[in-house]
Symmetry: C2
Subunit: 361 residues, 2 copies
């Protein structure tokens, strides 16, 4: 049967060509006689994959020399713990922007460790807008300023960044990393769970400036210490071999296809197709989100009632379009249209959206 | 080419039949139209895999009802952090047995968090022996008593357990979990990185008694809190989908083949073959390890000099036997002969050991 059209929010769509390459090499990795997943992480075979993955992140993202690239098992949620434990312990203060589910989860963990100053809270607008970055200020002496670049559930995405002076911005880019160029000069650290644009689930990519490493809590246990991962080039303990390998294949593809500028262009084209259909639907499809901060990754929309939304999701599924149900916490519909989702799948979705509207009007 | 004989210490040998099943379903998982690794962890497809993996652990290991089974990303090394943060914070004391590289790493992390009483240290015998368990006592008021059931690098393995009264034993079973039945009545918590007997790398299996969960530090950040993983059945955040799936296939196979008693029988048979050849080699192959605590998982041995060991490893590799080099920290040779290594591969190894000795004598 043909490959389904994958609108899941994460784990999410991977290129079919990458899946096929993984399949080909699964039992015997490149003639080594072993699968890569049963090969020591200290072997030449895995060493090459690991290094290649790091080099590709550096090259594709344009990571400056004064940043280290880390692969840390446990997902973005473990970063919600590691960030405050490293940078907030001992009575320190940080700044947070509360823009939806994910930033609030990161905030809840930070509050357990130290003082958190809320710079912005979108509660009054039900997290459907973002503040003008130029109006935001870090508090004096703050250890870091936290931003969630794309709220995966709410479907809102920062398009520009505040100027926080000497206070480093730490940004959760879990759901839009690699979707557009990253202006590293604005950040002290970025992090992302791998399972959206990068590859399968199993770890987080952390990109951290050298001076941040020096500021880590000196009494951390080994795994929770960014310095340990940096010094050992993410081989302090056994890494998630399969997930890093699969990511490296996705990165190879992005590189071959022209890098982040090209990716960004395609993503804007894809999201515009859906937003245009919504905007021309005379309110049949409604976006709760302020036009200026609509996400290019997670397009959320609602219809007149829940029955209609359910029917939409069911009919789409019958046409092999999966993952269109909104997150349980907010309801509605959501089309996650990450990097690896082909344009043709988005075209199929908007054609179906138009058909469905016609049938129901 | 034929599958290589895999003596790596971890990541390590997986059944070829499991690798072939993963391969078959990699692009289209059981007719779903998607790969499992690009499918939401909230989907019916993954939900089924996750639940099945947990049920199989409970069934095969005979986990009592008053223990929870957790899958936690980040490896066994993250457990070295989580254990003291949960059970040792706030001036508490625990007991440690120091039996080699891995227990010392766990100890180093615990010491950063609280008071650690060293009950046994094998330093004087270079970690080649273990104490008689009946001579060990927990200190009064101790929060837990830590044991490493099998020292992967040193090649020594506990054959019996101390009686620590009310003090719960926490046991790192990373390199011998599922190699023999587990007497759960002796433990408060066991944990293991997945990448030896269970499956590919990417997470740890934690099996924890309910009263231990109640004793967790109430101020933990979410990911580091065992209670959070227990309440959400290890779906609080995105799990390492691929690794849990692959483990479930290994578990299916163990179940079909007769469970832990059968596994233990085979493991003893396999390790005996190698130890017998060593013992009959007139000192050509030397084991540094006390006979009574020889590991059935990691068989370490040395020869007269490093040249000879190098040649042994090289010749073995030419015969498609890989992973026989000892850990860099101790040198020598090591044959890791985990559950999934076929008996025939061990037979091939001992035949080669005999040939090599003959050629060099
Ligand atoms: C923006 C954002 N941050 C954090 C997370 C949590 O990531 P993980 O599940 O890898 O812990 C997610 C998961 O979807 C996310 O979308
Ligand atoms: C006994 C033991 N404990 C802990 C570890 C560390 O496990 P991980 O690499 O998953 O962090 C290992 C790794 O080989 C081990 O053998
Ligand atoms: Mg998707
Ligand atoms: Mg959200
Ligand atoms: Mg092995
Ligand atoms: Mg050891």
């Amino acid at each position: 049967m043909s490959h389904a059209k994958n609108f899941y929010a994460g784990p999410s769509v991977l290129p079919v060509s990458v899946l096929e390459e993984i399949q080909k090499d699964m039992v015997d990795y490149k003639g080594s006689g072993l699968s890569l997943i049963e090969t020591s992480h200290r072997s030449a075979e895995y060493g090459q994959v690991h290094k290649n993955a790091m080099n590709l992140v550096r090259e594709i993202f344009g990571v400056p020399d004064n940043f280290k690239i880390l692969f840390i098992g446990g997902g973005a949620t473990l970063q919600f713990s590691m960030i405050p434990l490293n940078f907030l312990s001992g009575g320190k203060t940080c700044d947070f922007t509360l823009t939806g589910t994910w930033s609030k989860k990161a905030y809840a963990d930070a509050k357990k460790v130290g003082n958190v100053n809320v710079v912005y809270d979108g509660k009054d607008n039900s997290y459907t807008r973002l503040p003008d970055p130029s109006t935001l200020k870090a508090s004096p002496g703050s250890s870091y300023f936290h931003i969630t670049s794309n709220e995966t559930i709410g479907g809102i995405q920062w398009k520009d960044w505040p100027d926080t002076g000497d206070v480093p911005i730490i940004c959760d880019m879990s759901s839009d990393i690699m979707s557009r160029p990253i202006p590293f000069e604005k950040f002290g650290m970025i992090y992302a769970g791998a399972q959206k644009n990068l590859g399968p689930s199993g770890f987080a990519v952390v990109i951290i400036r050298d001076d941040m490493l020096e500021k880590c809590n000196p009494n951390m246990t080994a795994f929770l210490d960014y310095k340990v991962h940096a010094e050992k080039e993410s081989l302090y303990n056994t890494p998630p071999v399969f997930s890093i390998y699969a990511m490296s294949l996705v990165l190879e593809k992005v590189k071959a296809e022209g890098g982040l500028k090209e990716v960004e262009k395609r993503n804007k084209e894809k999201s515009k197709l859906i937003y245009d259909v919504m905007d021309k639907s005379n309110g049949f499809y409604k976006s709760p989100v302020d036009v200026s901060v609509r996400s290019d990754m997670n397009v959320v929309f609602t219809m007149a009632n829940e029955e209609l939304e359910k029917e939409f999701v069911a009919q789409a599924k019958a046409k092999q379009m999966v993952g269109l149900k909104g997150h349980v916490s907010v309801g509605g519909c959501r089309a996650s249209i990450y990097n690896s989702l082909p344009l043709s799948d988005v075209v199929a979705l908007v054609e179906f959206m138009q058909e469905f509207q016609k049938a129901k009007s």
